[in-house]
């Protein structure tokens, strides 16, 4: 299973991560639209790490569903401040950075499976999967 690990401590990590996942998606056989959706979702979540947690890691793997469908799994973890109002953030429109407040809710809309675990003061872990 190919893995790419990136330390997210500056905004270049956003560009590197979205470029890497797009490349992986292309190699697995995803079309342009799905490559773009997945890369954009990764961009949004990695930016959160850069903005709030300063460092963390991104892990990409090619995975397979129970039904045998291939896909890509992205796990983005940090040891940052965590998310206080998780439900509000997942609904969208909530921002503390002056952005659109669409980062997390938007990323969720762009992938097939999205799971976010966050413990205030402990960190955040986002799991995303997109199937071919």
């Amino acid at each position: 299973m190919p893995e790419i690990i990136i330390a997210t401590n500056d905004d270049a990590a956003i560009v590197t991560s979205r470029g890497a996942v797009r490349e992986l998606a292309r190699s697995v056989g995803f079309g342009t639209v799905d490559q773009t959706k997945l890369a954009t979702a990764v961009s949004e979540i990695v930016r959160n790490v850069v903005l709030y947690a300063k460092r963390g890691q991104v892990l990409f793997t090619i995975c397979e569903s129970n039904a045998g469908t291939r896909g890509i799994e992205v796990i983005i973890e940090d040891e940052g401040p965590g998310i206080q109002d998780l439900e509000i953030v997942l609904d969208g429109g909530y921002s503390t950075s002056g952005g659109f407040g669409r980062g997390i809710s938007g990323a969720r809309a762009l992938v097939d499976e999205f799971n976010l675990e966050s413990e205030p003061g402990q960190g955040t872990r986002v799991e995303m999967r997109k199937w071919l």
Binding site: D11, T32, T36, K37, S43, G99
Partner: protein, 117 residues
Amino acid sequence: MANIPILRLEGYVIVSIQDDLSDQEAEDLQKRLLESLAVRTAHGVLIDVSGLEIVDSYFCRILRDTAAMAQLMGVGTCVTGLAPAVAVTLTELGLDLSMVHTEGNLDRGLEWLRGRD
């Protein structure tokens, strides 16, 4: 990549973004673009993004803010060449770029700006 040329043609300011930009690079470009409007009057701004494979919420906001700021300086902005996959993704992200005028390509963008003069 960091030093994207800001061109002037017949009074129009033209920027073509061909590579993925970091947040900082996008912000720098925005600043240089607005500064170039202050130095010499322009009839309009054209931002071509046909080479961009990703426009996320941050870059979308940069585009929107740039157009709004140029407008405050009395200059209209047209964004051209959004790729189909980018358009689909922006819509699913729930991002609204409708306050920025868009055209399919540079020619159409220039035509639109000329019509405003």
